[in-house]
């Protein structure tokens, strides 16, 4: 028993693709698969029917995301059971019907799979115990409906209709989602059992109004209530089985289902009464009025569906126990007679090839059986006695007469109800008379006749039920109605008696008036049509479509403005946005803290600032002359390094200095290929814009820096300073932080560096660039490629530089230095060999497989981390100790040094890979120029070969 509910929903979802798999054996198998799935679901449901009828509520629950209040919990009570039976029963009939309705060349797999998907989602909606879960299923039904409406994908009309339906119901679903979140917040749980019991608490909550409106938005969009009704007539573009199933019997009922489901929690307030009954009443009459004027009989049925949904909504809004019973009753009745009407209409459409009632006339003589069935169903829709529609309509009239709210204008509601009844009779008469009588068919594409035997069978079943319920209500429908209405009200049911004959009371009189009035209205239809044609017509769907197109156009122009392909604009927008954010928080910040003690400036600092100002403005002023700009940039780099020296950061100064050297070499190499000057191409507006942005950014960051520097200082570095020697085994705190305390950061960082090295290979390998033959002033390059003087000076320098780097590396743990600096120094020393002697000389003497060194470096660094695991410590835990060596004495060693070695290896390899790839460019170049037809493989081999092949290489041409 406990597993039957989850099994039911799971089966429905899992088996949905079955028709798609079966269609290869023929369309009949696809239909059979669909029917089997529905029948199996019914079989699973069968054993649960009796307990639920007795008033039990079955609950099962599995945790999904319990911390968010989302559980996979399902609930089966009378209401859920009634809906499940409708969904599965009508589903089975629609499956049979669709097999005949859809074209013979349609393989049906997609259709039935979508139908099953919808059925599964709809079952999920009616069986959910958790409200969030319900919203998920709710959106799935919208999605399935969208796919089914636009089932005829080649038709523009179908795609448009699907889109409108999705926008309206999906949008309403979002509102419902928000409403449900509020509801869960108010009630303290998303479980229905809790929410339904918390009605009192919910109605007095401050957020009740907002929550109710959001939930009702979801309800009204789904159940096509005014002013969201327009998607439903559009949705008639769907194949008729879909209209019968989704858009009359089940999916559009999801909205009123939710009204029923949440009735104990939400109803009982003034707002509920006015909103729900007002919307329902307006929809009831307005849609009935529109239905009367349709020429398309399927459109007539669509508007009549909207009207009946309005009636159900109105009944829930009236909010008396008996009106709720009537609403539930009408849900069942409407599903039965409207599904049969749609199917009959589909048969007519199928046999005649058109749905225009100006042409489809007098079909009674062509298809008497179908006509009789349709007439009975339409009679039920009109509320003719002995049919099920009559009973719930009588209950509605009875409620209208007796409702307490309009005590002074007590005639108003009954009059209104009678008006609605008159209109319903009028459009039903029109459907019956126009289609089946009223002369002869006009110019039909084909000659109509009775449909295949089994295509009519579903209609017969449903019409039989109309009669059964209409004549023997107490015997046929009362048990399930009691169970369902009891589950809605969550309290003992009021006394009511289902019977055809209650005597000559007010409701019966109203029914008679409605019947007579409706027929009279239809009799003078020609005058009414003429009048209607003169009225201005507003189509909500056209308004919606205009709005939609306007929004698309606005979005497109916004995107075109922001995303015009100019990186300059993106960057400017980005900077402007950041400035706006910064400016906003500046503006809204509380009053400034008074400046604390500052240090007096001295002459040296002022001079440095002056030089920096000259160099920085020089870069901006002279950036068109790129070589000068690079030189000025290097000046700035040096001043920054000096700043680090000044303010007690020797490590930073060393790093900055060596990075500066490598960067400048890199920029000069790039400049060899890039144009030596920038054209003056920016117009004045752009220059002004950029200058303003730059000024704002500069002032912003400068002011932020000043604010920071003058505010009170507090640091968390005490720990690092205290633990550096005892914990990390080194007295250079910066280095210990890098390789020990925050080693994981450093590991990430050298990994990024390693990627730069690999990128060098990917980006520059086999790239061919044009080599300039002259420098910026038009002079030829120096005739001597590798000046002897430079060569002879650089070769002895290499071992010296390497020794310095070893020294810097070893002392790094205790004194300024370390892997980064040592790696950069080694890199610079090796680059000097390239510069002095050419790439051929240097490449031949250096390791060829730099990526291997890169990998070794990363392995060293992460190896230290992994090694800690072996001793049961967390990743990257280090150790240190003393080793006594003969002759040298006590040496303090830390495992972090191995990590630092990894850093060293990575830095050296990356510097060499980048610069060597840049240097090789000239080789690619000359080879390509000499022999453009050489295959790539050969060219690659040439890369590592002798540099003498090259003409002017950057290393030789541009002496630093």
């Amino acid at each position: 028993m406990q597993t039957a509910l989850p099994a039911l929903v799971a089966l429905a979802f899992c088996a949905a693709p079955l028709p798609l798999l079966m269609q290869r054996y023929g369309r009949g198998y696809a239909a059979l698969a669909s029917a089997m799935v529905m029948a199996s679901c019914l079989a699973l449901l069968a054993p649960l029917v009796m307990p639920v009828m007795d008033g039990t509520t079955l609950l099962t629950s599995f945790a999904w995301l319990p911390e968010w209040g989302l559980t996979l919990s399902l609930r089966l009570d009378g209401l859920g059971l009634m809906f499940s039976l409708l969904i599965l029963g009508i589903g089975l009939l629609v499956t049979l019907y669709a097999y005949y309705y859809l074209h013979g060349h349609d393989k049906l797999g997609r259709f039935y799979t979508l139908l099953l998907l919808f059925m599964a989602a709809m079952l999920g909606v009616v069986l959910s115990e958790n409200l969030l879960l319900l919203v998920v299923f709710w959106e799935l039904t919208s999605l399935a409906s969208f796919l089914l409406i636009s089932y005829k994908q080649e038709s523009y009309e179908a795609r448009l209709a699907g889109r409108i339906a999705l926008a309206v119901t999906g949008g309403g679903g979002l509102a419902l989602f928000a409403g449900v979140m509020l509801l869960g917040h108010i009630a303290g749980s998303y479980e229905l059992s809790v929410v339904l019991a918390a009605g009192e608490q919910i109605r007095v909550h401050a957020l009740y109004e907002v929550m109710l409106i959001l939930v009702l938005l979801g309800v009204f969009t789904k159940s096509a209530q005014f002013p969201f009704h327009f998607w439903l007539p559009q949705a008639m573009a769907a194949p008729t089985p879909v209209s019968a199933y989704l858009h009359s019997a089940t999916m559009v009922k999801a909205g009123v289902f939710l009204l029923a489901r949440l009735h104990p929690a939400l109803a009982g307030s003034e707002l509920w009464f006015w909103l729900v009954s007002g919307t329902g009443a307006l929809t009831l009459v307005y849609a009935a009025y529109l239905a009367f004027y349709r020429y398309d009989f399927k459109g007539l049925l669509a508007y009549s569906t909207i009207s009946h949904l309005g009636l159900i909504t109105l009944l829930f809004g009236l909010d008396t126990p008996l009106s709720v019973v009537a609403a539930v009753f009408h849900i069942i009745n409407h599903a039965i007679f409207k599904a049969s009407l749609f199917m009959a209409a589909g048969i007519v459409d199928h046999e005649c090839g058109t749905r225009d009632m100006r042409r489809v006339n007098g079909l009674f003589k062509f298809m008497p059986i179908t006509a009789t069935l349709a007439i009975v169903a339409a009679g039920s829709m009109a509320g003719v006695p002995l049919l099920n529609g009559f009973l719930s309509k009588e209950m509605f009239f009875a409620e209208a007469v007796g409702h307490p709210v309009f005590d002074e204008m007590s005639w108003l509601l009954p009059a209104f109800a009678t008006l609605a009844g008159i209109l319903a009779v009028a459009y039903s008469s029109r459907f019956i008379h126009d289609v089946f009588f009223n002369g002869d068919p006009v110019n039909l594409p084909r000659k109509p006749h009775e449909p295949p035997r089994w295509m009519r069978a579903p209609v017969e079943v449903l019409v039989a039920m109309c009669l059964l319920v209409g004549i023997f209500p107490q015997w046929s429908i009362a048990p399930i109605l009691h169970a369902a209405a009891g589950a809605v009200l969550q309290q003992p049911l009021p006394e009511f008696h289902l019977a055809v004959w209650h005597g000559f009371n007010a409701p019966f009189m109203m029914s008679l008036v409605a019947l007579a009035g409706g027929i009279a209205l239809y009799a003078m239809r020609h005058r009414l049509y003429a009048l209607y044609d003169r009225l201005p017509s507003i189509h909500a769907s056209i308004v919606f479509e205009r709005g939609y197109e306007y929004m698309v156009a606005a979005a497109r122009s916004l995107v075109a403005w922001m995303d015009n392909g100019s990186l300059q604009r993106y960057l400017a927008l980005f900077i402007a946005f950041v400035l706006a954010l910064g400016g906003w928080s500046w503006w809204t910040a509380s009053a400034a803290v008074l400046p604390v003690v500052t240090q007096a400036p001295d002459a040296a600092s002022l001079i440095a600032l002056g030089m920096l100002a000259v160099a920085a403005t020089g870069v901006v002023r002279l950036h068109h002359h790129r070589l000068i700009a690079v030189v000025l940039t290097s000046v700035i780099g040096l001043i920054v390094a000096l700043t680090f020296v000044r303010f007690s950061a020797p490590d930073l100064a060393l790093t900055q200095l060596s990075v500066e050297v490598v960067t400048i070499v890199l920029l000069l190499l790039a400049l060899y290929y890039l144009p030596p000057t920038s054209p003056a191409e920016d117009g004045m507006p752009r220059l002004v814009r950029d200058a303003l942005l730059a000024l704002a950014a500069g002032i912003g960051l400068g002011a932020a820096a000043y604010a920071m520097l003058t505010s009170p200082f507090d640091t968390l570095s005490g720990y690092y300073l205290a633990q550096s020697v005892p914990g990390g085994g080194g007295s250079n705190v910066v280095n210990v932080i890098l390789v020990d305390f925050r080693g994981f950061d450093t590991l990430g960082e050298i990994t990024v560096l390693a990627m730069v090295g690999l990128a060098a290979h990917v980006l520059l390998d086999q790239l061919v660039l044009k080599q300039p033959m002259r420098d910026v002033d038009g002079r030829a390059w120096a005739s001597e490629r590798h000046p002897l003087f430079l060569q002879m000076l650089m070769r002895p320098l290499l071992p010296l530089a390497l020794m310095v780097s070893v020294y810097i590396f070893l002392r790094g743990h205790n004194l300024p230095g370390g892997g980064f600096v040592a790696g950069l120094v080694t890199g610079v020393a090796l680059i000097l060999q390239y510069l002095a002697s050419g790439i051929g000389f240097a490449s031949a003497r250096l390791p060829q497989r730099l990526p291997l060194f890169l990998a070794a470096g990363l392995a060293c660094a992460s190896g230290v981390g992994v090694a800690a695991w072996a001793f049961g410590f967390p990743f990257l835990t280090t150790t240190h100790g003393h080793i006594a060596l003969p002759l040298i004495g006590n040496i303090e060693l830390a495992s972090a040094m191995v990590f630092d070695l990894g850093v060293y290896l990575v830095v050296v390899s990356v510097v060499l890979m980048v610069l060597a790839e840049l240097g090789k460019l000239s080789n690619n170049n000359s080879l390509a120029q000499q022999a453009p037809a050489v295959p790539l493989a050969l060219r690659e081999r040439g890369n590592g070969g002798e540099g003498t092949l090259a003409g002017a290489t950057p290393f030789s041409g541009k002496a630093l």
Partner: protein, 108 residues
């Protein structure tokens, strides 16, 4: 002293941003370099400006804040990596397109 460093940071930021907004790759790289200097100095300044107090453990010494220094040290090296990457990207773009414009179209 604080004012001087702040002015330097502001100046470098302004020049860097202006250069980054140019249309050619090389000024863009220079601009990014200038902005890196500014940001590094800013980060470094968060440990305040102290003279003669390097974070090297000695007897009886006082120390400046080592943590911003460690952060800036990695920032300098990452900045180098980024510059190198951009330079290579610029060269590649030059090879694939007509000129060194940042929005350069593909070679016809």
């Amino acid at each position: 002293m604080e004012a001087i460093v702040s002015i330097a940071i502001g100046l470098l930021t302004a020049c860097g941003v202006f250069m980054m907004l140019r249309a050619r790759t090389f000024p863009l790289i220079l601009g990014l370099t200038l902005l890196s200097y500014a940001v590094n100095l800013f980060l470094f300044a968060s440990g305040r400006l102290r003279m003669d107090a390097p974070p090297l453990i000695r007897d009886g010494a006082s120390y400046t804040d080592p943590l911003p220094q460690a952060l800036v040290l990695t920032a300098i090296v990452i900045g180098f990596g980024m510059t190198a990457y951009l330079v290579m990207l610029a060269l590649r773009a030059l090879g694939e397109s007509c000129d060194d414009h940042v929005d350069a179209k593909e070679k016809p």
